[in-house]
């Protein structure tokens, strides 16, 4: 018997286990009830591990989510930075365009204002070489440009044409060491020779040491060189050093101050007077006018009077009209106007001659016929 059990032990255990589970299923199916205990054991064993897993998953996914968000933020930052750079470039370009348009407008205004015959040109290239002070313009002999013609901008002279080709011309800038032009100072009319130095500033040479030149003073072309017509701005004095026999004067060229894009080539120069005062195109701030005082309202409305003197003249004229007095006529002893009389308030018709005017108002008849006394005159004793 024992041998038999040993021989079929495994299959016996198998059958018992299977049988036990079949009974379990049968009980559940028959009673339609669950075996709660076994489920509790399993769930109790599984849920702590599931909770640990879920916590780990939360932490891991949170980390990766944050990492991805950070990655996205970095990507956004990079994209926005690129956009900012692009917008900056665009802004710079638009500013440049506006500046170019402003300069073109100034050029047109200057061309209309100057008596010299000019032709507009654009700088299309600069001369080769680091120290090159030469530019090329898009106007040449085909447009009437000739060698030696001056080149200017509204701000000042720029240079002169040193070679004219059919479609372009070569211009030596005033900063070129070989450039020279006759100049004269605005304030003291000191003449000198402008020379380029190959640097930003130019030199005014041959100004005697006893001549008076001030820093900030402006120089204009003198016309002596037979190239630049007289009266074109050249630049502003920045440095004055006493030296012998000539002063050392450094000038900041005003024509190159705002860059060089569009210029005017003077085809036929006309000499102009050198202005006495600093150029009128310098911007001057003008504030708004103060509000009118109540008494001035009528005077301001009645005519285009601007200054106080104008207002006074207008007031006297109205008084004269009200009193039938014509200024500048009549000889000595003739009727004179009462300049202290008050004018009627605005909107009210001035009283006609002979009518009783309101208190204090001018009554023209009063001048001819004195008003009766309000109290009887004292009678002499009889």
């Amino acid at each position: 018997m024992e041998t038999l059990l040993n021989r079929y032990r495994n299959i016996t255990v198998l059958l018992l286990v299977i049988f036990g589970q079949l009974v379990l299923i049968a009980v559940q199916v028959r009673n339609d009830q669950d075996v709660r205990m076994v489920r509790v054991w399993s769930i109790t064993a599984i849920t702590p591990l599931a909770r640990i897993l879920e916590t780990g998953r939360d932490v891991t996914s949170g980390f990766f989510r944050n990492y991805i968000l950070m990655h996205d933020a970095r990507e956004d930052n990079r994209r926005l930075q690129a956009e900012v750079d692009r917008l900056k470039m665009e802004n710079q370009f638009l500013k440049s365009e506006i500046s170019t348009a402003d300069r073109a407008k100034a050029l047109v205004a200057f061309k209309a204002r100057t008596p010299s015959k000019t032709i507009a040109a654009r700088v299309i290239a600069a001369g080769a070489g680091v120290n090159s002070k030469v530019v090329f313009l898009d106007r040449g002999s085909g447009s009437g440009v000739e060698k030696g013609m001056p080149v200017v901008t509204p701000d000042g002279i720029v240079g002169k044409v040193i070679a004219a080709y059919l479609t372009a011309s070569e211009v030596m800038l005033i900063t070129d060491p070989e450039f020279a032009a006759g100049v004269v100072s605005q304030k003291h009319r000191v003449s000198g020779t402008l020379k380029g130095q190959g640097q930003a500033n130019c030199k005014v040479d041959y100004v005697a040491s006893e001549e008076k030149v001030e820093v900030g003073e402006q120089f204009f072309t003198s016309g002596d060189d037979r190239v630049f017509p007289k009266g074109f701005p050249v630049g502003v004095v920045r440095v004055v050093r006493a030296s012998s026999p000539y002063q050392e004067i450094l000038l900041e060229p005003s024509g190159l101050e705002h860059g060089l894009e569009a210029v005017l080539i003077v085809l036929e120069g006309v000499h102009q007077a050198i202005p006495e005062m600093p150029p009128a195109n310098a911007p001057v701030y003008l504030g708004t006018a103060p509000p009118p005082a109540p008494g001035e309202q009528a005077l301001r409305r009645s005519g285009p009077a601007g200054t106080d003197a104008d207002k006074l003249v207008q007031k006297y004229r109205q008084i004269g009209e009200a009193e039938n007095v014509k200024f500048g006529e009549g000889g000595p002893g003739s009727k004179i106007a009462d300049f202290n009389a008050r004018l009627p308030p605005p909107g009210e018709q001035p009283p006609k001659a002979g009518e009783k005017s309101p208190a204090g108002a001018v009554n023209p008849g009063a001048a001819q016929k004195p008003p009766p006394p309000r109290t009887p005159a004292p009678q002499p004793p009889q």
């Binding site: 198998l14 669950d34 599984i46 998953r57």
Partner: protein, 177 residues
């Protein structure tokens, strides 16, 4: 099969019996069940993996003990049942008990260290498991469920491939002599 044939296939059986620590026998099935109930929440396609079955097959094959195999199968199956609320306890229990028993029986007779043998066994026992489960559902519970042979074959192949990899990993948890 003759005795010489058994020796040819198994070699020295005593040397080939694998032993595992108790915590391995406890936590690996637990992890497999946990994987099946937890991971498909996030990766639905991983729901096709029957890791508890693969773990049952592995332990039954490697321990070469029919009683041990059937008890491992019964415990894992009952645990699976208990986590399936709509299913009476014992369905997976019976199926996995039989799988464990037969896998141990096979493991006693052939060399199960080879990957191809493992692949074939995993494929076979998956199919056997699914078929038996279908039979029990129809026979014991009277559920009119169908059996997709093609689908079962494909999933069997998938599980077999995963099983070979898993078995290779679980080999590292064996106690060394």
């Amino acid at each position: 099969m003759t005795e010489s044939g058994d020796r040819f296939l198994v070699g020295n059986q005593r040397e080939q019996i694998s032993r595992f620590r108790a915590r391995v026998l406890l936590f690996v099935p637990l992890a497999a069940i946990l994987f099946q109930v937890y991971v498909p929440r996030f990766f639905a396609f991983l729901g096709y993996l029957e890791l508890p079955l693969l773990v049952t097959i592995y332990f039954a094959l490697m321990r070469r003990s029919q009683i041990g195999g059937l008890f491992i199968g019964a415990c894992i199956g009952l645990a699976q049942d208990s986590l399936s609320i709509k299913q009476p306890l014992g369905m997976f229990g019976i199926v996995k008990t039989l799988v464990g028993y037969f896998a141990a029986s096979v493991g006693m007779r052939i060399d199960v260290e080879h990957s191809v043998i493992r692949l074939l066994l995993a494929f076979f026992f998956y199919f056997f498991h699914e078929f038996l489960y279908w039979v029990l559902q129809r026979g014991l519970l009277g559920k009119p469920v169908g059996f997709g042979v093609q689908r079962t074959l494909v999933l069997g192949l998938l599980n077999a491939v995963v099983g070979v990899t898993l078995f290779h990993f679980l080999d590292r948890l064996r106690e060394r002599a």
